[in-house]
Amino acid sequence: MSGLGTVPIWLSVVIAVFVVLGSTLTLIGAWGFLRLGSFYDRLHAPTLATSWGTGGIALASALLASWVQDRPILHELVVGFAVIATVPVTLMLLARASLHRDRMEKAAHLPPELLQASSDPEHTSQGAPSTSSE
């Protein structure tokens, strides 16, 4: 990284704003992850980090690299896209595992219409009654 000194002040400000935005959102997400009480609530906190948390830092990195290397550097956008496209797999896996367990235990915090899905005799032998799109 040689040409850092050539970055004009207005671009530095834009990059700094994106970096601070991304890292702040990631921090808030982590803070929420720590503080929230229920499993399903905790599913929501990291999505701050995976949306604009990642997005802000990736945009800042792309802007800085593009200026320094004097050509558009779009690697970071591919990273952002890959994160957005793969996060649902993890979160759905966690959510469905939790739902399955709650159904087995007849957890009180599940609404009754969700409990019923697995008490249907047709499906209980096969375990989870549903198929997801993944």
């Binding site: 803070w31 929501h44 591919v78 759905m92 997801s132 799109s133």
Partner: protein, 162 residues
Amino acid sequence: MIARLLPHPLLVLVLAGMWMVLTRFSLGNLMLGLGLAVFASWTMHALQPERVPTRSLRMLPRLAWTLFVDIIRSNIAVARLLLTEGSGCRRSSFLLIPVELRSPTGLAVLAIILTATPGTAWVEYVSETGTLVLHVFDGAESEHYLHVVNNVYVPMLQEIFE
């Protein structure tokens, strides 16, 4: 013949485009990228023989823009809720939404949309009844999400995939 050689033309284009974005533009890179993309599309064909039907891609920019705006808005909303956690009266809730969308690819894209948007988490989809179960971080927004899924995203995805 063309269909046998190029089972997923759109995938080839996108992958080759991505290769060009990641490398410096040159004829060699273009050929290497195209070769890799075609090879990847054969692999994709082996994994999933049927082509993903796309009826119309005209809706795609509007979908991307709607999602972009939605993600910004819900980032702000969820960040505020997390910072005021404990003092407010936020109650999360489960939301059952009957969706008309049946295309597996469309549903996969809907899953990405809803997960990428903070505040909604995809819990399950019951294919027999077409019911989608979401977990909503702020239960007071349930009506809003019901409207957004059924009146905004599902019609767009139906236009693209069905």
